[in-house]
């Protein structure tokens, strides 16, 4: 067998082994076409694309964070709490320090500090969760359930639950600007995050470590991986991404508040699972997650165009689709297993 042939078969083997991605794509196209046909003048218009691009980055970025933790075999239910806490810290800083009526150029350094502050709060929150999981061996689901309460609680405590508004104009201006009057900056950030995390997972050493630890933490220890540090770093990335999402929410709402986006947590877990992230760890791609995000957004925006259909049908479709995909994957994997048994007999 020549080398090129091997490489080819590897590549083919990979795409063939990721039929989930293909199925997601089919579903995505299906939802898209369906909505376009049903609502030709509304769906798939420039205005609609623009609107959708402004909506999904905030929860999309959180979903990517949750996906990463799920790949390592854990879960981060604390993303929303982290996002709001970090945004509130940034908002409090801006509101408290920026002089009234400051010129935009004067405000820039404050903005930079605020953003850095918020990102570091995200990192600290993530590190805290990672610490609980890797050092104190608390099951991730409980540890992050606790951190979600804790972070939201701190956010409420320091604000008495009130929205922090009165941000400098420049912040919202930058946060809501649109390239070519069409591509919102939040979308650009999402794009950068998705591509960056995608590359990290598929092209870097650390990405491989995450998959491997998620597959078998015991074996990864014997292979010389530092599980504690991998876990810690994964949750720190998740925290960092949460704070990015928090900054986007802060721009979109022009304020920060302890309970913005509370229902996003469950939604993000659903996205991750539909996107093909194995809840037991070890498998899943950002491509799949991104498609799941888009499917959700299409569904959601599409349903908003039907005046008489409640938004709750999104949940119904979502739950139904999730289960159907599972059943479908299962049937296929049974077939594959049978084929594999046959092969191993050879």
């Amino acid at each position: 067998m020549t080398t090129t042939k091997t490489a080819d078969s590897v590549r083919r083997g990979r795409s063939a082994r990721d039929p989930n991605l293909l199925r997601l794509l089919v579903m995505l196209v299906f939802v898209f076409v369906l909505m376009t046909v049903l609502r030709p003048n509304q769906f798939a218009t420039m205005a609609d694309f623009n609107s959708m691009m402004r909506q999904f980055p905030e929860y999309g970025i959180m979903a990517i964070g949750i996906s990463l933790t799920m790949i390592t075999g854990g879960i981060d239910l604390g993303v929303v709490g982290t996002a709001n806490l970090s945004a509130i810290v940034a908002a409090k800083f801006l509101i408290g320090t920026v002089p009234r009526g400051a010129a935009p150029a004067q405000v820039v350094p404050y903005l930079i500090i605020a953003v850095l502050l918020s990102l570091s709060v995200g990192l600290v929150c993530g590190a805290f969760a990672g610490m609980l999981i890797s050092r104190f061996n608390i099951p991730a689901i409980l540890a992050t359930l606790g951190t979600q309460q804790l972070f939201t609680g701190i956010a409420i405590g320091i604000t008495s639950g009130r929205p922090q508004s009165g941000l400098p104009l420049l912040y919202s201006r930058i946060g809501n600007m649109e390239f070519f009057r069409f591509v919102p900056i939040s979308f650009v950030i999402f794009f950068v995050v998705a591509v960056g995390v995608g590359i990290m997972l598929s092209r870097t050493r650390f990405g491989t470590y995450m998959y491997m630890m998620g597959t078998n933490p015991r074996a990864s220890r014997y292979a010389g991986l530092n599980n504690t540090s991998i876990t810690l770093r994964t949750y720190m990335i998740s925290g960092l991404l949460s704070s990015v999402a928090g900054l986007i929410m802060m721009a979109r709402a022009n304020s920060a508040k302890a309970d913005y986006g509370a229902p996003y947590t469950l939604q993000c877990v659903l996205i991750a699972v539909l996107g093909g992230i194995n809840p037991n760890g070890g498998f899943g791609t950002i491509g799949g997650v991104t498609m799941a995000i888009l499917i959700l957004q299409f569904l959601s925006s599409g349903l908003n165009m039907f005046n008489n259909i409640s938004n709750f049908y999104r949940d119904v479709i979502w739950g139904g689709v999730l289960i159907l995909v599972l059943v479908f994957n299962k049937l296929l994997s049974w077939r594959e297993e049978r084929r594999a048994v046959r092969k191993s007999m050879n």
């Binding site: 990979r14 870097t204 491989t208 491997m212 010389g224 048994v341």
Partner: protein
């Protein structure tokens, strides 16, 4: 000729066009210990599953106590007294000994309710049958592997077994425990119970069985009386290959030790361990489970930290703080439990191979050098002749021997100077075992220092250039393999003459 308890004739079974069994015949007589031998994938397990009713054969017949069947259901098989003791014993770790013993009985009696009084009586009766001393209220997860196996045997006896099938029962047992198990088997035989002993370990076949049947690629290749069988023929029938006698002699030139351990101690595991290891040497460490052998090598691999003592590498004192630091110092370790400690089963062969070498196979920013990884994978698949159709295949699709080679290759891909292997050929078939032994000798000859931890005494004798026997956390004696015997080793490690 006495009527057979079980006779199968012309059993054929195929899976989607692939023939797993091609007309297999065998029979087992009352009170007989019959060994069913064969390498992985030879069709042993398929045959067991046909007999126990899990698979329906495509052709052939099964005769049990004179009754003919074209196929069985699992319930029928159990009803006919066929009991399978699986490799993993199928016990419930979270339940007590009593429940583990009694549950099957209750299920067979189709009981809906559970009586703890009855269960205690049943369990007490079961353990007394084989004179097994155990606390009935202890959770099984707190018992040793050997005790768990005895539980499985007791449970089979409770089912009024007329035939006990043991599927590779010794793979997780220590030498001493195997002895105890064999005593139990003999006792069962004395009561007239036939036992089908499935194994690929030739010593066991010779020691325990009266007759044997060997399968290869789904066919009967040999059957007869064990007395008339010799090792060479046995191995030939199993593998279809001829092997030379194994023996390792390191090159005569004594070299400077690469690893020196002085008075190393870990509380509750081992104490006061000192030894030297030179390049080109294969040091065999043997001892019973719990003798501290595993803990010792795991300390050297940075899994645990010693309480006292010193470790020198190339004469320099080192601290091995973590696995990572062990790897940096050129130490590799093949752990004993391949499935849970060694491999990432659902991940690709490539990833499993490359995992420890990723530091070298990526650039400054941590980006993988994919072509280098592919090259390396290809190289080692070729070098160790790992039978994998594609490096993208998940590693669970490989046979045990090939899986072990993947773990080995992972370490060889690093610039190693010391390789430690814990039970390197456990659960590996003879062909691959031989290959692995040859490989170890080659590596040693190339200047690698190797430590093998094993209680497979023939393996230690065949591969090691020096043997250290451990007992109760201490070295008892150092031996020259060319001047010692298995019985001597076993004596030293058990402390029983």
């Amino acid at each position: 000729m006495a009527a057979s308890v079980l006779r199968v004739e012309g059993i054929t079974k195929s899976f989607g066009g692939v023939q797993a069994l091609k007309g297999v015949n065998f029979d087992i007589a009352p009170g007989e210990i019959h060994c069913l031998a064969g390498e992985n994938g030879s069709g042993k397990s398929t045959l067991i599953k046909v007999v126990s009713g899990v698979y329906e054969p495509d052709a052939g017949k099964i005769e049990i106590n004179g009754q003919q069947f074209s196929h069985l259901t699992p319930k029928e098989a159990i009803g006919l007294g066929i009991q399978v003791i699986y490799q993993d014993f199928s016990v419930f770790p979270n339940l007590t000994v009593m429940e583990n013993l009694a549950l099957n009985n209750e299920l067979m009696d189709k009981r809906k309710l559970m009586s703890y009084k009855r269960a205690r009586a049943i369990a007490g009766n079961a353990v007394s049958q084989i004179e097994f001393d155990v606390d009935l209220d202890e959770r099984v997860e707190n018992l040793s592997v050997a005790d768990r196996q005895l539980i499985a045997i007791c449970r089979a006896l409770l089912q009024e077994a007329k035939l006990i099938i043991m599927d590779e029962p010794t793979s997780a047992l220590t030498k001493k425990e195997v002895k105890a198990l064999f005593a139990v088997i003999k006792r069962l035989q004395a009561r007239g119970l036939p036992i089908l002993f499935v194994s690929h370990k030739l010593d066991e076949v010779f020691e325990i069985s009266e007759r044997y049947t060997i399968l290869r690629s789904g066919e009967n290749v040999a059957r007869g009386n064990t007395k008339e069988l010799d090792r060479k023929t046995f191995v030939f029938h199993m593998t279809g290959r001829q092997f030379e006698d194994e023996f390792y002699r390191p090159s005569a030139a004594k070299r400077e030790p690469i690893l020196s351990v002085r008075e190393l101690s870990l509380q509750g595991a081992y104490s006061d361990i000192s030894f030297d290891l030179s390049p080109g040497e294969i040091l065999g460490v043997t001892g019973l489970l719990g003798s501290g052998r595993t803990e010792l090598v795991e300390t050297l691999f940075g899994i645990s930290q010693p309480d006292a003592g010193k470790i020198f590498i190339r004469g320099k004192e080192v601290r091995i703080k973590s696995v990572k630091s062990a790897i940096r110092k050129g130490i590799g370790y093949v752990p004993s439990d391949r499935l849970t400690e060694g491999l990432f089963l659902p991940q690709s062969v490539e990833r499993n191979l490359a995992i420890t070498a990723l530091d070298r196979l990526s650039d400054h920013f941590g980006f993988l050098r994919r072509s280098a990884i592919a090259d390396m994978t290809r190289k080692w698949i070729g070098e160790l002749s790992i039978a994998a159709k594609s490096p993208a295949l998940p590693v669970w699709a490989l046979s045990g021997g090939n899986q072990q080679k993947v773990v080995l290759a992972r370490w060889l891909a690093n610039d190693l100077s010391i390789l430690m292997l814990n039970g390197p050929t456990m659960g590996v078939d003879i062909g691959s075992k031989y290959d692995i032994h040859v490989l170890m000798r080659e590596l040693a000859a190339r200047g690698l220092a190797i430590i093998i931890v094993s209680d497979d005494l023939p393996e230690v004798l065949a591969c090691a250039s020096r043997i250290l026997v451990m007992r109760d956390g201490a070295f008892v004696q150092e031996l020259d393999p060319s001047a010692t015997t298995e019985s001597k080793l076993s004596e030293l490690s058990t402390g029983i003459a």
